[in-house]
Chain length 259, copies 2
DNA sequence: CGGCTGGTTGAGGCATCTCAAACGCAGTGG
DNA sequence: CCACTGCGTTTGAGATGCCTCAACCAGCCG
């Protein structure tokens, strides 16, 4: 039909190949996510003026309704975004780790649509949106990186919707743990013993179920040896084998379709 | 803290004010959505070379797994995006009307993550992604418009997640109809009698419930005079008053929280 | 110690799903 | 013209998965 022009040929002047993979992957083969994140942060640091901000557990990076001025890139820590409706319902709609952006949802309306809350102490990089627009004009690689980040978030949201609609409660919890372990693994962190920094109520809210259901699901997963609990409290979960979680999800689905 | 610099001052050279509102609304007060869409399409038409493609009902604009080359802007018709999992589950994750973009989810991975299916005959504008990147570098207004579109889609996904997690089935259907009527109203179309181009099964899939539940919910809404059915088949729904749908949602929530 | 927060587990209830039957409507072919 | 078929819809009755309510337990901290 038409020939595929590599993006790099039109993305403007010379770019360091070492930075290329934090943008859209049309140009290059896949690289480890940890590397991509390091390159993204390096690119931002060189192309933009960022204000580093340290946040403590429970502190809000921004609140729903705040005027949209800045985007934030997670440099350390873990964050939840909480959608708040007019009538007061609260819903955890996203979890964010190092390398993720916070605040994309504010662009369209000019104010943020949800709260972004730190779940432990961490650091975010504030980037003024007007400066980002300017930087994207100057540096196509940066623009591509922003597009990629938004695209990834859209894909994640879709997968969440699918999980909520098609998986029974136990499988949804298993899927949740699998995703969590996956993001840790991508960042080069230990996945065999992870600490959930969320209460059962928060997990349930995120997954669309009640806290008791989460607790029961975790108990069943532990009984089936798909996960384990560390002797130090029930807050830490041992995941000896991520594939076992996937297998559990598949088994749930097979059992369901098999009547 | 710091003064708010209007984006327009850094967005580059002169821009026609008439086109300004299709981008982020920091610069300008809110305008009617229909106007924004017209301006978006005009901007795209002047800044980019588009290939117009007519699609018929049931036809795929793209399929999950297809290589990501192009984005699409809806010029006419109505489309659904369907997420397909490895094990064959299908989930409608989005509905798209005139002025919406299709394919953002392909940017990050280099291939599309879902099917985009036309639900009636319509027309999409194909835009090569490399050309779009170049155009965004050239025209900051275009870049802002793309960001705004992605941001809006993120916000919509989150509202969907919230509706699925917090609303009972009847209210979820009411909310669905309200959103549908809302998008029609934004585009200057009639909202008092809308034709659902989806089967009950599709609606149910989208809302995370079974087709019988959708049917019952619609029957109850009709019994409560919140909606009506046209005499010609049950496929057309009469919505005399959109506010009545919102009121129904609120009533459901009030009844639920009241124990 | 005693209160508090978060977690686990059980019993019963309810919203939704499953299964099933019947209907309307459009298309098709005799 | 009518029978016949297929698909989508409606409605009912029973099953079930998750929620609600409640009791109890385990850490933690003043």
């Amino acid at each position: 039909m038409h020939t595929l022009i590599p993006v790099s040929t039109i993305q403007g002047p010379v770019m360091k190949p070492a930075l290329a993979s934090c943008a859209a992957p049309i140009t290059a083969p896949r690289r480890p996510t940890g590397e991509r994140i390091a390159q993204l942060l390096a690119l931002i640091d060189t192309e933009l003026t960022v204000v580093r901000r340290v946040v403590r557990a429970g502190e809000a990076v921004y609140r729903a309704g705040d005027a949209f001025d800045c985007l934030y890139v997670v440099h350390a820590g873990m964050y939840k975004t909480v959608n708040v409706s007019a009538d007061g319902r609260e819903q955890v709609v996203g979890l964010h780790f190092k390398g993720d952006w916070l605040g994309f949802d504010g662009i369209a309306e000019g104010c943020f649509g949800c709260d972004a809350i730190a779940m432990d102490t961490g650091e975010v990089w504030m980037i003024r949106y007007d400066a980002l627009l300017e930087g994207c004009s100057r540096t196509p690689l940066l623009m591509a990186a922003v597009h990629t980040a938004m695209s990834r978030e859209l894909a994640r949201d879709r997968d969440s919707m699918m999980a909520m609609c098609t998986l029974p409660a136990d499988a949804r919890v298993a899927d949740f743990l699998r995703n969590w372990a996956g993001t840790l693994e991508e960042r080069g962190l230990r996945t065999d013993c992870i600490t959930l920094r969320m209460t059962r109520a928060e997990i349930g809210n995120y997954l669309g179920m009640k806290l008791e259901t989460v607790s029961r699901a975790l108990s069943r997963l532990a009984r089936d040896k798909v996960i384990g609990f560390s002797e130090k409290g029930r807050r830490d979960v041992e995941i000896p084998d991520i594939a076992a979680l996937s297998a559990f999800v598949d088994r749930s689905l097979a059992a369901a379709t098999l009547h």
